[in-house]
């Protein structure tokens, strides 16, 4: 068993046109910038992978990260809860021009649908969005006198996530609130690809402190001193 890749190119191999790609992060916190830009670079070089469905809480900020993917034209559709940011130009332009799709999902429903996919739960009921536009067309049901909306699991072909520590077997920890969606996406994708600030030997993470057990992780690549999207934006990155 060796999950460790020798570089970003190897880590993102096999991501193909039309795939559904989950990308960790809430705004800039947890965004796997190096993995994303390796994918953008490949697309600029080879024209692939394009026509992607990207699943993230947001829809990019400024011109880096997911916004760079959108600007490059790789993204056919965003599945997210909040396609706004301090500089939402990239998504907004394409959305208002009808050049990108949007599936708007309430944030807790987004998290739960991803978790459900990872946990083998094809559908569940939630009070969230009952009686709103977001629930239109979805089955509803009454339980204990209250109305609920049926939501389906949300799977992906690939997840790109950012961890703090990883061991060779794929056990992960995260840094502060950069954890957010990553542990869920790691469960829900067919191939989970992780950039970690440091890869240690098995035993280097206390079994009590593992957040994502290695069974959910397929590929690891070490990116020491990873870039932080929000910090980059504030430094004026283009």
């Amino acid at each position: 068993m060796n999950k460790v890749c020798q570089g970003l190119e190897e880590a993102i191999a096999g991501i193909e046109d039309g795939m559904a790609v989950m990308i960790g992060g809430f705004g800039g916190s947890g965004a796997p910038i190096e993995l994303i830009h390796a994918l953008v670079d490949r697309y600029r070089r080879t024209g692939s992978p394009g026509n992607l469905t990207v699943i993230n809480n947001n829809a990019g900020n400024g011109a880096i990260g997911i916004a760079a993917m959108i600007d490059a034209g790789m993204v056919a559709k965003m599945v997210c809860s909040f396609p706004r940011s301090s500089d939402p130009r990239a998504f907004t332009e394409k959305y208002l021009a009808g050049e990108i799709g949007l599936e708007l999902v309430p944030q807790g429903t987004l998290a739960e649908r991803i978790r459900a996919a990872g946990a083998g739960i094809p559908a569940f009921y939630t009070p969230t969005s009952y009686g709103t536009l977001v629930a239109e067309g979805k089955p509803v049901a009454e339980f204990d006198g209250r109305m609920y909306v049926q939501e389906r699991w949300l799977k992906a072909d690939v997840a790109l996530i950012k961890a703090e520590l990883a061991d060779r077997k794929g056990n992960l920890t995260y840094r502060k609130a950069a954890r957010n969606f990553a542990p869920l996406m790691a469960m829900a994708a067919r191939i989970t690809i992780v950039q970690a600030s440091r890869i240690v030997e098995p035993g280097g993470i206390d079994p009590e402190h593992v957040v994502t057990p290695g069974i959910f992780v397929d590929r690891l690549v070490e990116v020491a001193n990873p870039k932080q999207e929000e910090a980059l934006l504030r430094e004026g990155a283009k």
């Binding site: 809430f26 705004g27 800039g28 916190s29 947890g30 809480n57 809860s81 909040f82 396609p83 706004r84 940011s85 301090s86 939402p88 998504f91 907004t92 959305y95 208002l96 949007l102 708007l104 999902v105 309430p106 944030q107 807790g108 429903t109 987004l110 998290a111 739960e112 991803i114 978790r115 939630t126 009070p127 969230t128 969005s129 009952y130 009686g131 709103t132 536009l133 977001v134 995260y174 840094r175 502060k176 609130a177 950069a178 954890r179 957010n180 969606f181 990553a182 542990p183 869920l184 957040v211 932080q228 999207e229 929000e230 910090a231 504030r234």
Partner: protein, 223 residues
């Protein structure tokens, strides 16, 4: 029209009702101001959707850690006893009824407790975030808002016109003119500015203001 409370004063008034030991989620923007006015001696624990319980004030400029942010993507600090968790656990706290109070802004609130705060209709980019989860999760849903729109139209309505965020969920509205509880599908006036008569207030409110017992004076210091 009589003087009205500033947003800071509305936040101050709402903050006085925070119970000791409460777990509270403050919405992005205006509701976040409430934390500043928490009365001395009460311990309130703040939750943010992106996976922190018990965060504290903003750090000094230049000391931000952008992996330590709230749902509004603003840098925060941690109190002793803070905890990190992932998004599914975070919304288990919300949806599972573990929060005592969530405070939101609103475009419209109706006397049946409906709230509209996420979409002003077609033509813009829709964004919902965690609001639809919060309105059906916390034990109490407070709204802080000006009593009327910028054009002077009522925001406390018989029925909402904009796309709903949630159905029958708001419990109290703190406005620039009044404190209004929602009980059994009715606006129940708890406090109003003493300078304003009930009729004057009703004229700025589409839904019917009912009175149960006495109406208190809404008196707020300069803040």
């Amino acid at each position: 029209m009589a003087a009205k409370l500033t947003n800071a004063q509305i936040a101050w008034r709402a903050a006085q009702d925070l119970p000791d030991g409460a777990y509270v989620n403050l919405g992005i923007g205006f509701p976040e101001m409430i934390a500043k006015f928490k009365p001395e001696g009460r311990e309130v624990i703040y939750h943010t959707e992106n996976g922190i319980l018990d965060f504290g004030e903003a750090p000094p400029a230049g000391e931000e850690d952008w992996d330590l942010i709230n749902a509004g993507k603003k840098a925060v600090t941690l109190n002793p006893g803070a905890a990190f968790f992932h998004h599914a656990d975070s919304f288990a706290m919300v949806r599972g009824g573990h929060l005592d109070i969530a405070v939101l802004g609103a475009y419209e609130v109706a006397e049946n407790g409906d709230i509209a705060n996420w979409s002003t209709g077609p033509g813009s980019v829709p964004a919902v975030g965690g609001a639809m989860d919060l309105v059906h999760g916390a034990k109490q849903i407070w709204v802080v808002t000006d009593h009327v729109t910028k054009k002077g139209e009522p925001k406390l309505l018989k029925r909402c016109h904009l796309p709903l965020t949630g159905v029958g969920c708001v419990t109290t509205v703190y406005t620039s003119l009044a404190v209004v509880d929602i009980r059994n599908g009715r606006f129940v006036l708890r406090e109003k500015l003493p300078s304003m008569s009930l009729d004057e207030l009703q004229a700025l409110t589409e839904g019917e203001l009912t009175v149960e017992g006495t109406v208190g004076d809404l008196i707020v210091p300069e803040v």
